[in-house]
């Protein structure tokens, strides 16, 4: 047993950032460290890409009935043999591999969606190495996630110039009730935002406080993801917060342009997807918080929820994968 526990298997990928495109072979090596020699049956490597959907909590109300019902969507599943049965000598052994996700001419059922880790939707690609050792020994195995980004060839050019959406936020654009002093005093915040945005680029735009009678305490840009799943005949949609970025701290000067600049967090965001059974979309929510005693008394909760002392503006955000820019590889 001592030897068995001392043996380790690892899958090491050729790229440290583990990002691959579906047209590229996934390369790397299986690293086995063992004190003794190991006899094994054929060593296999399998790749498994799938969209996992689940519904929990939230808007539907009758959650229990849906829970666990949805079957994962298979994107890719294949197994190759990297080494036929034999013996591994003691010490460190490396077995290189190269695995094509998609053979030329091979037709696949699903698109290679980009890796995405959301609340209800998970798009994940796993690489698993299996070393079966007959019935007497436990098989050894190791799993490693790799990340899929869209293929180079079918990507659009980066949108130049990006489409800027002009927005203005006043007491009259608010669909929720405001404190009377805010409502009567009035305020006006204008700006523009690029609502189509490349994943490699920061979300950019600008914002100007033109007027506000009640002092402002904070202006924040919230990134939201909207995951929708078709369950039976219903669509279950959940909106969740990814990241908040403050762009104004305190009652800023009027008529000074503030930049909106948000670097998009990796893995938590992916190109907007509209597949049959599910969709992943993104939104930007701009919140303006006004000075109010109520705000202090309120415990922290969802910062994008409409409040009496807050003005909101939600804008859709379309994320696209463009040709590589200079930052990433």
């Amino acid at each position: 047993m001592a030897t068995a526990t001392a043996t380790t298997v690892n899958v090491k990928l050729s790229r440290s950032n583990r990002i691959y495109r579906s047209s590229e072979p996934v390369e790397g090596k299986i690293v086995i460290k063992s004190a003794t020699s190991i006899s094994h049956q054929a060593i296999r490597l399998s790749v498994n890409g799938s969209v996992n959907l689940q519904v929990r909590g939230g808007s539907a109300g009758v959650i229990e009935s849906f829970y666990g019902v949805i079957k994962p969507i298979q994107i890719v599943k294949k197994t190759v043999e990297v080494k036929s049965s034999g013996k591994i000598p003691p010490g460190t052994t490396e077995i290189p591999f190269s695995l094509n996700l998609r053979e030329p001419g091979e037709s696949i059922v699903e698109k290679f969606y980009e890796t995405f880790h959301g609340t209800n939707i998970n798009i994940q690609y796993l690489l698993t190495a299996d070393i079966p050792r007959g019935y007497l020994h436990k098989p050894l195995s190791a799993t490693m996630e790799f990340i899929i980004e869209s293929s180079r060839v079918d990507l659009p050019e980066r949108p130049i110039p990006p489409d800027l959406v002009i927005f203005y936020i006043t007491q009259d654009t608010q669909r929720h009730p405001l404190l009377p002093e805010i409502k009567t005093g009035g305020f006006r915040v204008t700006g523009k935002l690029a609502t189509q945005c490349s994943l490699q680029d920061p979300l950019s735009g600008e914002l100007t406080v033109e007027a506000s009678s009640v002092p402002i305490t904070s202006i924040d840009i919230h990134l939201l993801r909207v995951e929708s799943i078709i369950v039976g005949e219903r669509i279950v949609t959940e909106t969740s917060l990814i990241q908040s970025t403050q762009i104004a701290d305190g009652d800023v000067c009027r008529n000074l342009t503030l930049p909106i600049y948000v670097l998009l967090p990796r893995l938590l965001m992916c190109p907007s997807v509209f597949a049959g059974p599910f969709s992943v979309e993104f939104k930007v929510c701009i919140t303006i918080s006004f000075k109010s005693k109520l705000a202090k008394a309120q415990p922290k909760s969802d910062p994008t929820a409409p409040r009496l002392w807050m003005a909101l503006e939600r804008l859709p955000l379309e994320l696209v994968r463009t040709k590589r820019d200079q930052f990433s590889c």
Partner: protein
């Protein structure tokens, strides 16, 4: 065997010892005087050429040309800035001392409450388990400032440790927490200190990140060097892996929700943008704009300060960014300056706020000018602030905040100030807010104008405008402070009319008013400038209302001005003009009245008394000698407390007497009054040696005037005083050497004074001797010296021809008076015996061996030169030599030479 004096032929000795003399063409000291003047001139000349790295403008070159000439290399600028930054940090830490105890709002709870990772052992469990969120009811934590700083340093150490342990995520997390401390501006005075500590930490973090990414691009996975980056590398030289890491850092920093720490952290790793892009101009622009999101004036200003520092440090700066930055500062300050109703008023809080802001603004403006000079674009830069345009345009774009205008003006080279003077003046007029005193801006303009050469033409109208602006201030103090800066300009450019107007104004404003201390100080500064400009007093006194203005002053300012007046009056030769004498006398009197001479004895008093004495010494009434003596008497009465002056008075009156004597016989009565004045004045002098000296001096003068009874009287007074010194011993002030020299002088004066046969010829000598013997103040060394002097005197008096006589031919010397009188010579011999009898004892009393030896030799030499060497004298000398040998050893050179001269 009888003692016998050596015969002397003084005339022959003088002839044989006389040194050959030759005529000199030049006074040996006169040339140095001339060269010193020259030197002074060059020093003053070079003053104008003084190269200040921040201004550095030649007087002759036109402004723009010069700006081009002095443009400097980036390295030099960077070096300068590193120094500037260091000194700024010191200033920030020192200028704003903090009260010991600080209460913190919940935002700083990284300090009062720390999470487990930092220092688990030091924390109590309740704190560990407490949630990050602080409820409103929780009172603000109270913490000591030192504790606060110590904790930040501890955290910094934690960041460093985590980094060394490859735990960079933790390092970053801690850094974010520390940076968040800057969000708290509740304790204003403490903010600069926190800023310095936190930015130090950020600089450190930035360096570590930079090094790590650089290493990643230079080394491969195994740590072998694959390439080495040049200083001016391109982003394309960087391998993908390193760029990935770098971008990752920006993502991590960018994910911080709060604006302030996000900006600071990006600034910390700002140089790393170079790994990704070659010209991070867009980044800089964005950062400048991002800071606008910080509404707190202090926090945003310090954030800009750090931004400018980081940009400068890595050569990213350009004047465009800095100009934007300064304009933003102006926008942020606007609401602070003016409240909602449109009033601008100053409160203590605002005062504190602006004082905290000032160093930061100063640094940023300094950077702006450095950058502008580097880019050869100072003028263009100024245009951005509304300079050099016509008036219609400038009103919309120029600076409106006076603290900014002040620091901008401070950095402007004086040549530019001169060429833009009228516009600057207009600008100062427009910016009247509470951030900085407008008065000081007017002053700064004046000082800057004084630095350079300017044409009188435009100055005249400019100063007119300034005077007008200044007189709009209701307070005299403000008026004085402003005009103070323009006095030099008026003087340099000979603008008498303006000067007259200024003095008029001062009198009008200050009339019938009690001037406050500040007003006095400003007035003092103005008057001192006037005094410094003019060569002598005669030019100053006729100035418009000058005396009247002097009368306005009081207290220390008045004294200071008076000192300068006195100094000026006594600067050049003697003072003959009676009005000047009267004026200076009054000045001296005021000075004297303002000083407590009785109780306080310090350097300041010494200077005052020295000046007054000097003045009295300098006064010269010429032929009106009686008037002069009266003046001296007046002075004695007026300045009774100044000891130093009494000596001057006696000397002056003696000089006066000598002058009268030289003028002819008819003045005998006047000479007598002078002597009487001196004789009366001397007793009030406390220093014994001075006292004696002056008696002797006066006695000599009396002798010169042929007034033997006077001189006798003075000598007797001197002897009595010597005896009294003996009585009032314990006087510590007696300095042995000067006492010895006074008594020696006494002896030499006695050579000239004819003996009084009625009282006994030796009476005076014997009195000196007995006073010395019986005194306790005389140390053995002093005694031996005096005894030797007496012995020499006795030997001299025994000669047929005295070495010198009184200059008055009517006075007959002892040589003639007692020629051939054997009892006189007998008296001299017996006196000598008396001296010899105590001399040896006195030597034995000396405790120091070396001193004793030397004294023995001294006495031996004296004896051998005074007396003929007969058996008795030889024996005495041998005994003395023996003593010397015991004390000094046989091989002493003094003993050798003494032996040789004794021919033993």
């Amino acid at each position: 065997m009888e003692l016998e004096f050596r015969r002397r032929d003084y005339g022959a000795t003088q002839k044989s010892q006389f040194l050959p003399r030759s005529q000199a063409l030049k006074h040996p000291l006169s040339s140095t005087l001339a060269s010193r003047q020259q030197q002074a001139k060059t020093v003053r000349g070079s003053d104008l050429d003084f190269f200040d790295p921040l201004r550095g403008l030649d007087v002759n070159a036109s402004a723009e040309e010069k700006v081009r000439d002095t443009s400097i290399s980036i390295e030099a600028v960077t070096q300068d800035l590193i120094k500037e930054w260091k000194s700024l940090k010191r200033v920030l830490m020192q200028r704003f001392p903090v009260s010991k105890v600080i209460s913190f709002s919940p935002i700083s709870n990284i300090i009062t409450k720390r999470s487990k990772v930092e220092a688990p052992s030091a924390l109590s469990h309740s704190e560990e388990t407490g949630s990050e969120q602080t409820s409103l009811e929780e009172p603000a934590k109270i913490i000591n400032q030192q504790e606060y700083i110590a904790k930040v340093h501890e955290l910094r150490e934690g960041i460093n440790c985590a980094w060394q342990a490859e735990d960079r995520v933790k390092s970053l997390k801690l850094s974010i927490k520390v940076t968040k401390l800057l969000m708290d501006t509740t304790v204003l005075q403490f903010y600069p200190t926190v800023f310095v500590i936190v930015t130090d930490m950020l600089d450190m973090l930035g360096d570590m990140v930079w090094e790590r990414i650089k290493q990643k691009s230079e080394l491969d996975v195994d740590g072998t060097v694959i390439c080495s980056l040049l200083n001016d590398f391109q982003s394309s030289d960087i391998c993908l892996e390193a760029r990935e890491t770098c971008y990752n850092w920006f993502c991590k920093v960018g994910s911080v929700r709060e604006l302030l720490p996000r900006i600071y952290l990006e600034l910390a790793i700002l140089p790393c943008w170079r790994f990704l892009i070659n010209q991070p101009m867009e980044v800089l622009d964005r950062l400048v704009m991002m800071v606008r999101g910080l509404a707190d004036p202090l926090a945003s200003l310090y954030c800009r300060l750090y931004m400018v520092h980081r940009m400068q440090k890595f050569g990213f700066c350009n004047s465009g960014i800095l100009i934007k930055c300064i304009k933003d500062i102006e926008d942020v300050l606007a609401p602070v300056l003016v409240d909602k109703e449109g009033y601008s008023y100053i409160t203590d809080d605002k005062k504190l706020l602006f004082s905290l802001m000032e160093p930061a603004i100063e640094y940023i403006v300094k950077c702006l000018f450095l950058t502008g000079r580097q880019e050869n674009n100072v003028l263009g830069m100024l245009e951005e602030f509304g300079f050099g345009r016509n008036k219609f345009q400038s009103s919309c774009n120029s600076l409106h905040v006076s603290i900014l205008l002040h620091h901008l003006l401070k950095e402007l080279p004086s040549e530019l100030v001169i060429s833009l003077a009228t516009e600057i003046l207009d600008m100062i007029k427009c910016t009247n807010d509470c951030s900085f005193s407008q008065v000081l801006n007017y002053r700064l303009l004046g000082n800057k104008l004084s630095e350079g050469k300017s044409q009188e033409g435009f100055l005249s109208s400019l100063i007119d405008e300034v005077i007008q602006a200044a007189s709009q201030y209701q307070s005299l103090y403000d008026y004085l402070r402003i005009m103070d800066a323009y006095v030099d300009l008026m003087l340099q450019n000979k603008m008498e009319n303006h000067l007259d107007a200024l003095l008029d104004d001062i009198v009008n404003l200050a009339r019938d008013k009690f001037l406050s201390e500040e007003e006095q100080a400003s007035l003092q500064s103005i008057i001192l400038k006037l005094l410094a400009h003019f060569e002598n007093l005669q030019e100053v006194l006729p100035l418009n209302h000058f005396i009247e203005i002097l009368d306005l002053m009081s207290g220390t300012s008045k004294s200071s001005v008076n000192m300068h007046l006195l100094n000026m009056g006594t600067r050049s030769g003697c003072i003959c003009d009676s009005t000047t004498v009267q004026f200076l006398f009054e000045v001296s009197q005021a000075l004297y009245d303002a000083t407590d001479f009785v109780n306080i004895k310090d350097d300041d008093n010494r200077q005052t008394s020295h000046l007054i004495s000097r003045f009295v010494e300098m006064v010269d009434y010429g032929a009106e000698m009686e008037r002069h003596l009266m003046f001296l008497a007046e002075c004695r009465e007026a300045f009774n407390g100044i000891h130093e002056l009494k000596e001057t008075l006696v000397r002056s009156s003696n000089t006066l007497a000598v002058k009268a004597l030289k003028a002819g016989k008819k003045h005998t009565n006047f000479v007598k009054s002078c002597l009487a004045f001196s004789e009366v004045t001397v007793p009030s002098i406390s220093s014994p040696t001075k006292h004696l000296n002056l008696y002797l001096e006066t006695a000599e003068v009396a002798l010169l005037g042929g007034l033997i009874s006077h001189s006798d009287g003075l000598v007797m007074s001197a002897v009595e005083y010597l005896e009294n010194v003996a009585l009032t011993d314990g006087l510590k002030s007696i300095d042995v050497d000067s006492m010895a020299s006074v008594v020696c002088k006494f002896c030499s004066v006695l050579v000239m004074i004819p003996g009084n046969p009625e009282k006994g010829v030796m009476e005076i000598l014997k009195s000196i001797f007995s006073a010395t013997c019986s005194s306790s103040w005389a140390t053995p060394r002093l005694k031996v010296k005096i005894f030797c002097a007496i012995m020499s005197l006795l030997s001299t008096l025994s000669q047929d021809n005295l070495p010198y006589h009184s200059a008055n031919p009517e006075i007959i010397g002892n040589d003639l008076l007692f020629f051939g009188d054997s009892s006189y010579k007998q008296g001299l011999v017996s006196c000598t015996q008396l001296v010899l009898s105590v001399l040896l004892d006195a030597i034995e009393q000396e405790s120091s061996q070396i001193a004793r030896g030397n004294m023995a030799l001294e006495a031996c030499n004296c004896i051998s030169s005074a007396l003929v060497m007969n058996e008795k004298v030889t024996e005495l000398c041998l005994r003395l030599l023996e003593t010397a040998k015991d004390c000094l050893g046989a091989n002493d050179r003094y003993i050798e030479s003494t032996k040789k001269s004794l021919q033993l």
